[in-house]
Amino acid sequence: MKPLLEMKGICKTFPGVKALSNVNFRLYRGEVHGLMGENGAGKSTLIKVLTGVYKLDEGEILLDGIRVEATSPQHAQMMGISTVYQEINLCPNLTVAENIFIGREPMKHGRIDWKEMNKRAELVLGRLNIYIDVTRLLSTYSIAVQQMVAIARAVDISAKVLILDEPTSSLDAAETEQLFKVMRKLKSEGYAIIFVTHFLDQVYEISDRITILRNGELVGEYKTESLPKVELIAKMIGKELAELDYLPGEKKSACGGKERRLLLSARGVGRRGTIAPFDLDIYEGEILGLAGLLGSGRTETARLLFGADRADEGEVELEGKKMSSMTPRSAIGHRIAFCPEDRKEEGIIGDLTVRENIILALQARKGWFRYIGRKEQEEIADKFIKALNISTPGSEQLVKNLSGGNQQKVILARWLATDPKILILDEPTRGIDIGAKAEIQKIILSLCKAGLGILFISSEMDEVLRCSHRIAVLRDRVKIAELTGDEMDEQVIMHTIARGHTS
């Protein structure tokens, strides 16, 4: 059988980054094909090349044996390649029917034929076994239904290839099952579906074959049933199993001393649809690592502990004192600090200077009228610029003009200035260059030596292993294990993630 879609030798380079190099991809009629890879593996670049968002540098794309090159997503759609994104690209303020037929409304006497449109919308959705009132606004329906409306629209515009980019990331289990039903129906009708996800179980549940990318290169194409989970994980993060049997002998002990003081203890803390209830302890002078694949609930865990999101069950004790409800302000009041993952949106305030960014949290804790004088501000800023080796022409530089690594250091400085007891670091080394990375890791270790309790999150398992004294493992938004001592090695972690529990 000839593949419906074939991508051969695809190369795509961005300034300074080789995003895809010589990637092959095949998709057959009537299959669900899982596209897997960690962050930055090239999944979304591959999809964007396919749908004409990016122009490919080298290689060719064959659809039904004919060479094609989409120039825009609209063009790709006309050729039969449609994409449904995680954030739904529909208009919530229009009705379901309007969304399905937007831009191609059935007309009668030069006016929109609403009756016909609603009838046809019901028909289109009925084919996917979805029966809803199509005259209601899209926003009145759940994300899952909205997603299926998007799929129905794509299918109705005669898609042959349907790309689902992280469709389940905001769905609960029942909704996911509903979506899978629709996918199976489409599959049986001969549609070819590319399924991008971070959820391992889901790939195994629905996909026939899996293509794995890593660092912009093709790792391989596998039949789902003949690829054990642990091997999939190994291939995604780039370690062969044999290689993993070798372990560096170095083991760490908590650097705080024998008497470890419990700083934070969370019991049954969870939030519906975000992360299942978990227990977690953070000790003085200890780095607790959070391991897990992307989307496993690492960030969500951190956000609940800081109060950035509200937990809807469980309780947190800080140094033995029960907290009623956590908000960032109360967390800061109890000397908890949080460097969020999304530096740009949640961390820096780009239009303010380095100095202002550094003193911000300290000033916020002091309140409106206990103003930190300009001179003291400068002293604090200069102290941290020096201590963290922040590369800036001076404390009056706007933060947005700094490089990523230095912006990260500024946020770190903002929190260190508040003299925290607990430091939550969500991907502090993401997207910054090697040198700055090593520096930040060094800073983290020395802070731990100074007695801080640190919660450390990183997508890079190496880094988590190197820095942590204890590791909590997450999978599919559930905390499944806590590893200490000898258990802390890559293979154990990967087996744990694959199995879903400790042995």
């Binding site: 800081f306 950035a308 960032p328 302000r329 800061i332 009041g333 949080f338 969020p340 949106e345 949640e346 961390g347 820096i348 305030i349 780009g350 239009d351 303010l352 202002e356 003193i359 911000l360 949290a361 000033q363 916020a364 804790r365 002091k366 309140g367 409106w368 009228f369 206990r370 103003y371 930190i372 590369s391 800036t392 022409p393 530089q397 003009n401 700094l402 490089s403 690594g405 230095n406 903002r414 910054i432 260059d433 040198g435 700055a436």
Partner: protein, 352 residues
């Protein structure tokens, strides 16, 4: 050492410099075309002249612009300040009014309620208006333009209710002093503006409020995660803005010796917004420039005065104003300046 070049660059990138340049251009135009524009003379110990007149007439706009600066810096806008001007003026006027009494042989007007009480009441109601706006924006999370639109429309109704739909004339002499009086040779309004500006500056630069306002306007999510209570920051800027509008209302009603619920402060919110934007504060929030806003208000008033004194026919004077505002806005636009004057050198990226 600061080189000559870098001083030039700092001037070029400084917002206030552009605003001052525009004011200078407007004044320069008058130097050439309006006779006696810069002439200031002393009559009865008071200074008189076009420049003094501009200072005096710009006072309400300057006050509104000062309050509006904080609001715009948080990424919001307050459309209701014109209506608050009317409410404040109406309340003060109806409480002061003027009762004709005979003192010996002399007829004299006295205040219905004590004047201080009238002023206090007007300012309290203005504060309440600001709090109302602030609650709608910060707690009910209504978009600022919509939230303040409510009071912009309803406020005129409130003002008319206070005056029973009449234009109240204020006969009580002491009240006239607020808008027309002189102190140390200068209009009293100049001192009011100076005092409010001083308070605003102290709040902005000697407490943490200025930093919080800029931080919330720059990135609200990040500010929340840094522990700033952005809801209260927003509430307080609208409250202060309402307070400033209240003072402006006293000046306006005192100036015309009457209160007109329909027309007092009409469209003044637009002048205030324009003044803030001319002054260099971005409508998207973030950095704000108090002095810039004040100079912006002066530019608007200078422009109006100039148009009248040059004798532009009234039917085209709005067109002239529009053209000047258009040019000013272009000059304030960074991307326009970049295109016309080339890339400013001070914008280099710093890398690790």
């Amino acid at each position: 050492m600061i080189s000559h070049h870098s001083i030039l660059r700092r001037v070029k990138n400084s917002r206030i410099a552009w605003t001052l340049l525009i004011l200078a251009l407007v004044l320069l135009f008058n130097l050439v075309f309006t006779k006696g524009f810069f002439h200031i003379e002393i009559k009865d110990g008071h200074l008189f002249g076009s420049l003094i007149d501009i200072l005096n007439r710009a006072a309400p706009t300057m006050l509104l612009a000062i309050g509006m600066t904080f609001v715009i810096a948080t990424g919001g806008v307050d459309l209701s300040v014109g209506a608050v001007v009317a409410i404040s003026g109406a309340l003060a006027a109806s409480m002061v009014g003027g009762k004709l009494v005979l003192k010996g042989d002399v007829q004299e007007y006295i205040s219905i309620y004590p004047m201080w009480l009238a002023i206090a009441a007007a300012l309290l109601v203005s504060l309440a208006s600001g709090i109302w706006n602030g609650l709608l924006v910060s707690r009910a999370k209504i978009q600022p333009m919509v939230a303040t639109l409510i009071l912009m429309v309803a406020g005129r109704g409130v003002a008319q209710l206070i005056t029973n739909g009449q234009i109240i004339t204020i006969y009580y002499k002491s009240y006239h002093y607020i808008g027309t009086g002189y102190l140390l040779g200068l209009p009293f309004t100049v001192f009011i503006v100076g005092l409010v500006l001083l308070v605003a500056w102290l709040l902005a630069r000697k407490t943490a409020i200025g930093l919080f306002v800029e931080s919330v306007g720059g990135n609200r999510t990040a500010s929340r995660l840094a522990g700033i209570n952005s809801a209260n920051v927003i509430l307080s800027v609208y409250t202060f803005c309402g307070f400033c509008a209240g003072i402006a209302g006293l000046i306006v009603s005192s100036n015309v010796k009457s209160a007109d619920g329909n027309n007092a402060g009409l469209w003044s919110e637009l002048d205030a917004i324009l003044a803030v934007v001319i002054g260099g504060t971005s409508f998207t929030g973030g950095r704000f420039y108090l002095m810039g806003s004040v100079v912006g208000a002066l530019i608007i008033q200078s422009l109006t005065t100039t148009i009248y004194s040059v004798g532009v026919p009234p039917e085209i004077n709005l067109v002239v104003k529009a053209i000047v505002v258009f040019i000013v806005s272009l000059l304030q636009s960074e991307s326009f300046r970049k295109t016309v004057f080339g890339n400013p050198a001070g914008k280099g990226r710093v890398s690790a």
